[in-house]
């Protein structure tokens, strides 16, 4: 049993070594790919270190780009959650709102968040407001979906118990439905965080003068694939870190889930 584990670890390590080895070999080693097509891993690493303090060629350091993207994303994500979660819950709980809002919601739901970019750029210009608006919609839709489903999946038995003991409608909502919807709500927050992070990259690629999306889009114009790869690594890394923290928070908030 222990032997198998050792073999698996060796396999995992060798695959990463092989990956970087082949990457180095086809770039620096054998010069199959020119640095303007595929830079070597060493070049990418030095660019990463250099870009942290160097504002060239796109006018801002890596840190500044990260801060801009992150700030825009957080503002829009939080607003989407603040509006979306109560709205989704009300849609689920109150029949008139469900009947009236749900059709409108179903109307905009199939439209990917990115498709709103041109609308808001035309209406609000290429400033930060239009990017926030796009991300807000992406966050809003996901949060509504999940909080709606969260309230809906409350067990009927729990309502019956509540009613047997004479709970009012408000008590049923706050003490029965709301807590049982939390796992779904938290999943919604995590999922929308991911989609907002994706949308901010796309939005910055189309119209911005700062941010990670802008950085990689500019790097294409100046034939700097090393910066593009640095950008992709940073984007992926931040996405992973955000996901990690939200999973931690989720596990803490809904720790009652595990009986």
């Amino acid at each position: 049993m222990k032997k198998v584990k050792v073999r698996r670890t060796i396999l995992s390590i060798s695959s990463i070594v092989l990956f970087f080895g082949v990457w180095w070999l086809i770039t620096n080693g054998l010069n199959i790919y020119a640095p303007t097509t595929l830079p070597s891993p060493i070049k990418v690493f030095t660019t990463l270190i250099d870009k942290i303090t160097n504002p060239n060629p796109d006018g801002a350091t890596l840190i500044e780009h990260i801060v801009v993207s992150f700030k825009t994303m957080m503002i829009a994500w939080i607003w989407g959650a603040v509006v979306g979660i109560p709205l989704g819950m009300m849609m689920s709980w109150l029949k008139p709102i469900d009947l009236f809002v749900r059709p409108l919601f179903d109307l905009i739901r199939p439209i990917p968040g990115l498709a709103w970019i041109p609308v808001f750029i035309t209406l609000l210009g290429i400033g930060e407001t239009s990017r926030i608006a796009v991300l807000f919609i992406a966050s809003l839709i996901g949060n509504i979906l999940n909080s709606y489903a969260g309230i809906r999946q409350t067990k009927a038995v729990h309502f019956w118990v509540g009613q047997t003991f004479g709970a009012t409608d408000a008590q049923l909502f706050f003490t029965v439905a709301l807590p049982s919807s939390l796992p779904m709500v938290m999943t919604g927050l995590r999922v929308t965080m991911g989609s907002c992070w994706m949308c901010i990259v796309a939005a910055e690629m189309l119209a911005a003068n700062r941010g990670l999306g802008y950085m990689i889009q500019q790097a294409r114009g100046t034939f700097r694939p090393d910066i593009i790869i640095v950008g992709m690594i940073v984007i992926g890394l931040i996405g992973t870190i955000l996901n990690f923290f939200l999973t931690k928070i989720e596990n803490y908030v809904v720790r009652g889930r595990r009986q």
Binding site: V4, R7, R8, L11, S12, S14, S15, I16, F19, T37, L38, S92, K95, L99, F100, V101, R102, P103, L104, L107, I108, P110, I111, P112, G113, L114, A115, W116, I117, P118, V119, I121, T122, L123, R152, W160, G162, Q163, D169, L172, W197, M198, V201, A202, M205, L206, G213, I216, Q217, R220, P225, I228, G231, M232, I235, G236, L237, G239, T240, N243
Partner: protein
């Protein structure tokens, strides 16, 4: 007794019509009365949409734009989901393969598809290959994970029983493992289709000369709000149709699966 509204379909439909009518009226009033002058009324958008079926926008009519985008999605999702499912099945069945592939997989997976756009344009130019590659990436990872977790959740007693009765590995695979993965794989393909549709819009928005993504970006460049809204309506409708078809196919396939599983 507290119950979730068990509304009759008729009542729902009536309310849906009322709600959408209210939205349209508000939109109409907002568009005609507003000082902005840039926002078209719903009637203008509808007229423009109908006209677009016979009159070309850019170089082609709207149905050709849709077909272009759909064909890109079809090629990319087919390649991505097939290779993703195959990889996921192998990773699920053989732990050595899993140990070898998963580190690389977890390096690549967190990078959102849109972040691949600049690099793929550098590698593959501005042609179709770039779009196929992007849609491939958007569908590949999801399908791999679904197929993998499908294999991992197969009932081990079934496999044990079959093996005890002398079934070969191949037979175990195609009579037990594969059928019980169908629901998971279906979920993966559904997700691949909707993310593929979103990706084609993004890819066409960044660089393209046809397709629905081009439609809305060209509208933005000409400050033509009508064209943007026509594009959005089309993107939403096609997206909804794709999701509906995929879920119908899924319910068919999984009904068969449930019946044979019992």
């Amino acid at each position: 007794m507290r119950k979730f509204h068990s509304t009759k379909p008729m009542e729902r439909l009536v309310w849906a019509i009322i709600a959408i009518a209210c939205l349209m009226i508000a939109w109409y009033i907002g568009a005609t009365k507003s000082e902005l002058g840039i926002f078209p009324s719903p009637i203008e958008v509808l007229k423009r949409l109908l006209r677009a079926f016979s009159e070309p926008i850019g170089t082609m009519t709207i149905q050709m734009h849709i077909l272009y985008s759909l064909s890109r999605v079809a090629v990319g999702v087919t390649l991505g989901s097939i290779s993703g499912i195959v990889l996921g099945l192998f990773m699920g069945m053989n732990d050595d393969i899993n140990a070898f592939v998963s580190p690389l997989f977890y390096i690549v997976r967190p990078i959102p598809t849109v972040a691949w756009i600049p690099l793929s344009i550098m590698w593959f130019g501005l042609g179709e290959t770039t779009k196929y590659f992007l849609i491939f990436i958007s569908s590949f990872t999801g399908c791999t994970i679904q197929a993998f977790s499908g294999v991992k959740s197969v009932d081990q007693t079934l496999i044990g029983a079959a093996k005890m009765l002398g079934a070969s590995d191949f037979r175990v695979f195609h009579t037990i493992i594969l059928p019980s993965c169908v629901p998971d794989i279906c979920l993966g393909i559904q997700a691949a289709l909707s993310s593929g549709w979103a990706t084609v819009v993004a890819a066409e928005m960044v660089r393209s000369s046809e397709g629905v993504g081009w439609l809305i970006v060209a509208g933005q460049n000409n400050l033509d709000m009508e064209q943007i809204l026509v594009g959005i309506v089309v993107i939403g409708c096609v997206g909804a149709v794709i999701t509906t078809i995929a879920s119908i196919i899924e319910s068919r396939l999984c009904r068969w699966n449930n019946r044979s599983g019992v």
